[in-house]
């Protein structure tokens, strides 16, 4: 069945609102000559299960639905939302938001919605993909198999989350665009103890798929194995060094470097306003010529993928940096219009209760010419960082951090011993100019990323090949 039919059935039918009523609301919105307007309908069902202390301890089920109404005039936005999808409520919302339009603008310049769009995942309901009994069995199996791996394991915590999300975007011309978005996520955390020393390891994954994803390719059990491996490595970790040194980043999730160092700084809103360290730098060199970085919301099944963004724009592969040269920004409709460029399918929002803005989808660097072993061999003294926690950036000063959770010393071209996790800090606009080697081993992360901006969280992906950076500050304790 078509996405639009599925979304109408899931959202419009239960609320009883009709398409002609949507037209009525839209006419009200546009009556004040807004440049653009849209209504975003959403219905989401989510569940989560947690196994801890050897028992299935918690489960929860959540249903949320509502609509967000928006009018845009120049660079001004009026926005209101309600969890009641009812004509009088949405008409009141429309009245509230159209107040933003204070002067008559030029004739409407809003973009219409696409007649059709491709699909990068099936419109399946993950929550119904397994019987509840089977979900429990999966958690139990992961927990018991993980616990068996090592006698030093003290606790194993396994969580499973499934989301079935329907969205429907009504554009100002009355056209509708829709998406049905499945999302699953699993995580295994272990605590290990050895001679009184306690360490933690954590691994998970996810996709726009259903729960069978975790059974396929033995993924769920592999998360447990990987969590245990990391925890045991950390038991042996010594103090991390402090100072500026050569850093080799492993493939996959360390791509959070790209997300923080350049990704946020290339979002259209900051650049339209001139508040990003990358503002006005299109066409300039911001990375070594080994670096080509893209944002791609059109990858099949990835956590950060979308068929259409939350404004109804089909997602695409947007080249951000090509051979070291800054090519462009990630855009939603408003910022694209104000900057005179095309939207890139990056208009995203956490839910109907949040206004959309430019956000990343899956951000990664293309592979380069170097063999990963060759990269390690080229380093006399430095750090090999294999796994990371979160990161953060100040888009104005360009300073960014990301925190290693598994790292090793490199001495004389060899990985020698593990060191404790440490925060790495750098300057976004120049860190990639110091990339001197790029591996041929591109990996995308396992599907765990969540990005926060202005209080809104959205699922994202990152990826990269092994990278060598000649000089990054490592925040260890060993001075």
């Amino acid at each position: 069945m078509e996405l639009i039919t599925l979304a109408k059935q899931a959202i419009l039918k239960p609320s009883g609102i009709t398409e002609s009523e949507i037209d009525t609301i839209m006419s009200r919105l546009m009556s004040s000559r807004a440049d653009a307007a849209d209504i975003y309908f959403q219905s989401t069902r989510a569940e989560s299960w947690v196994m801890e202390g050897g028992i299935i301890k918690e489960g929860s089920h959540n249903i949320a639905q509502g609509a967000g109404v928006r009018a845009v005039s120049g660079d001004k936005t009026g926005f209101a939302y309600s969890d009641r999808i009812e004509l009088p409520v949405l008409m009141e919302a429309a009245n509230n938001v159209k107040a933003i339009v204070r002067q008559a603008q030029q004739a409407s310049v809003g973009l219409s919605l696409p007649p059709s769009w491709p699909s990068y995942y099936a419109p399946i309901d993950p929550i119904r993909s397994l019987e509840d009994r089977q979900k429990i069995d999966l958690l139990r199996r992961v927990e018991s198999e993980t616990r068996k791996l090592d006698s030093r394991i003290e606790e194993v915590i396994v969580s499973l989350i499934g989301v079935h999300d329907h969205i429907l975007v009504a554009g100002q011309d009355g056209a509708l665009a829709a998406d049905v978005r499945p999302l699953v996520r699993m995580n295994v955390t272990v605590i290990v103890v050895q001679n009184g020393r306690r360490e933690q390891g954590s691994m998970g994954g996810g996709a726009r798929s259903d729960y069978r994803y975790f059974i396929e390719q033995d993924r769920a059990l592999n998360y447990g194995r990987e969590a245990v491996r990391q925890a045991l490595v950390n038991l042996e970790a010594a103090e991390a060094p402090a100072g500026n040194m050569t850093v080799v980043l492993g493939p996959g999730w360390p791509g959070i470097l790209l997300h923080e160092a350049i990704g946020h700084g290339l979002e259209g809103d900051f650049n339209r306003k001139g508040t990003s360290a990358f503002s006005g730098r299109v066409g300039q060199r911001v990375a070594s010529d080994l670096c080509t970085v893209v944002d791609d919301g059109a990858l099949p099944g990835r956590r950060g993928s979308l068929n259409i963004d939350d404004e109804g724009t089909p997602t695409e592969r947007t080249v951000l940096i090509e051979k070291g040269i800054l090519k462009g920004y990630m855009q939603d409709k408003t910022n694209a219009r104000l900057m005179g460029v095309k939207p890139t399918g990056n208009g995203r929002r956490e839910s109907y209760a949040h206004a959309p803005m430019p956000r990343m989808t899956n951000t990664y660097m293309l592979p380069g010419p170097h063999n990963p072993e060759e990269i390690i061999r080229s380093v006399e003294k430095g750090i090999y960082a294999k796994n990371f926690g979160g990161g953060q950036v100040d888009i104005t000063s360009g300073k960014f951090v990301f925190s290693a959770s598994e790292a090793y010393l490199i001495e004389n071209g060899r990985i020698t011993r593990p060191v404790k996790g440490a925060t790495l800090i750098g300057n976004g606009p120049d860190v990639l100019t110091r990339v001197s080697m790029v591996g041929n081993d591109l990996e995308l992360d396992s599907g765990v990323g969540t990005c926060g901006k202005d209080g809104q969280s959205v699922p994202v992906g990152v990826g990269q090949p092994t990278l060598k950076i000649d000089g990054l500050t490592v925040g260890g304790t060993s001075v």
């Binding site: 929860s60 969890d83 204070r102 306003k273 508040t275 926690g389 000063s397 300073k399 800090i425 304790t477």
Partner: protein, 443 residues
């Protein structure tokens, strides 16, 4: 009075939810309902940028079948939605295992007195007036100095909410509260280098907010002082946490003595009750009943009565921070902290900020931290930082792109002084905190 009617109506919904849970076979249940509405406006470059009208509601229920538990939530309040939500929670409880610590709080710990903490002060401000206030605030910041070059705008937010909590032990209570804020963020530029900073004021009562002029000036001053920031070479030195970020240090301490990490044995402060982890002059208290304060509450998120108590005295941990479940896992009683602490205060010392700088003498004043580099299991601490290099008690120049690192156990033990320059805005209140020595890394 409309609010009182609304409160009665919401209490009736929560009661019907609890009744429905029992009807569907649960042996006990707890339910919460919240309704909030608000207005947020942002002005940028002297003109209105966004107006947002917020209206949220949510309903959550946890059911117990003996020691088995299930939870569900929804944004719908209709009788059918209530029935479906209870059914979803009951369905989940069929699959969870019996957990001997699961269940409602001990009856005798539930709050029975509900002092008026004066948390509800609606702000009768319309969108036009809010925009005018935001524009005034941003104008002050933008006009403060020629080096202020750009703006992320000024925002005015006002929120009002009703929260009702009930359980099948007969607890049923609602609280109305408000929260208002005014914030501003501007950029400054010198020699092609841009910096940004912000300031905000937040209060239950709009008359307690700092003036738009003050917020705008502070935002501009904080941004300007960052211009010309340099790096710093790698070293060990004393570190002074400015009051507004010292709250994070206390937050890490509370995180490490909270029930969840303690019973999971994933805290670096396991078995710290009764042990000295701070110097003797450190005293930390929880004051849940402060009139009109942001963190004030008569009961926690389970209905357990909150009470003023010492968490640390003479540097010794006197109490953990526990909800019902984690308390039972540890063989203890709830401390009324399900959902967190309510107004945490560390006794201020006698020095003001300038005297704290003198005490620091030569070292790093940290005014901003980046990233989440705190390992709760080990206490290992490594975070991005920005601030000022200080010599002989005087600020020399701004610094950026550095990290500060240590282990929280050592950092707590090596607190030299707490200032009397207390940041009163949040739920955690402290003055600036001086730590004897940390590792600083830079280029």
């Amino acid at each position: 009075m409309q609010n009182q009617d609304q409160l009665s109506e919401l209490k009736a919904i929560v009661q019907s939810l609890l009744d429905e849970a029992l009807r569907q076979g649960a042996s006990a249940a707890e339910a919460g309902l919240s309704q909030e509405n608000g207005l947020s406006v942002t002005a940028r470059m002297g003109d209105i940028e966004t107006i947002e009208h917020h209206r949220d509601q949510g309903l959550g229920v946890t059911v117990y079948f003996g020691q088995r538990k299930g939870s569900a939530s929804t944004t719908h309040l209709s009788p059918e939605a209530i029935k479906d939500t209870v059914a979803a929670a009951c369905s989940i409880a069929r699959y969870t295992n019996a957990d001997d610590c699961a269940g409602l709080p001990d009856r005798e710990l539930l709050a029975t007195e509900f002092p008026d903490l004066q948390l509800n002060h609606p702000w009768p401000i319309d969108a036009e007036a809010a925009i005018a206030l935001a524009i005034e605030c941003e104008d002050v910041a933008r006009g403060y100095d020629p080096e202020i070059s750009n703006s992320e705008g000024a925002s005015v937010n006002t929120h009002q909410g009703i929260h009702v909590l009930g359980n099948t032990l007969g607890f049923l209570h609602g609280t109305m509260s408000t929260r208002h804020s005014l914030s501003c963020s501007v950029l400054a530029e010198r020699g092609g280098n841009m910096q940004r900073d912000y300031w905000y004021s937040v209060a239950r009562n709009p008359s307690d907010l700092e003036s738009a002029i003050h917020v705008g000036q502070k935002a501009a001053q904080r941004t300007l002082r960052r211009l010309g920031a340099r790096g710093l070479s790698t070293r060990q030195c004393p570190v002074l946490y400015a009051a507004e970020i010292a709250t994070g240090l206390l937050g890490s301490f509370i995180g490490a003595i909270s029930g969840g990490v303690l019973y999971r044995k994933s805290s670096f402060l396991l078995d710290s009750l009764g042990k000295r982890i701070f110097p003797e002059f450190i005293h930390i208290h929880e004051y849940p009943h402060l009139i009109g304060a942001l963190g004030s509450a008569a009961y926690d998120s389970e209905g357990v009565a909150t009470r003023p108590h010492d968490i640390v005295s003479q540097g010794v941990v006197r109490s953990y921070v526990l909800g019902t479940y984690s308390a039972r896992k540890l063989g203890m009683k709830s401390t009324g902290n399900a959902g967190g602490v309510h107004n945490l205060l560390i006794d201020p010392g006698t020095q003001d900020f300038n005297e704290m700088l003198k005490l620091l003498d030569t070292g790093l004043l940290v005014t901003e931290l980046m990233g989440q580099g705190v390992n709760m299991v080990t206490g290992d601490y490594s975070r991005g930082a920005a601030g000022f290099w200080v010599e002989n008690g005087k600020i020399q120049y701004p610094v950026e792109e550095i990290t500060i690192a240590g282990n929280l156990k050592d950092m707590f033990r090596n607190i030299v002084a707490v200032g009397n320059d207390v940041d009163l805005r949040g739920n955690v209140r402290t003055g600036s905190i001086l730590i004897e020595r940390m590792s600083v890394a830079g280029a």
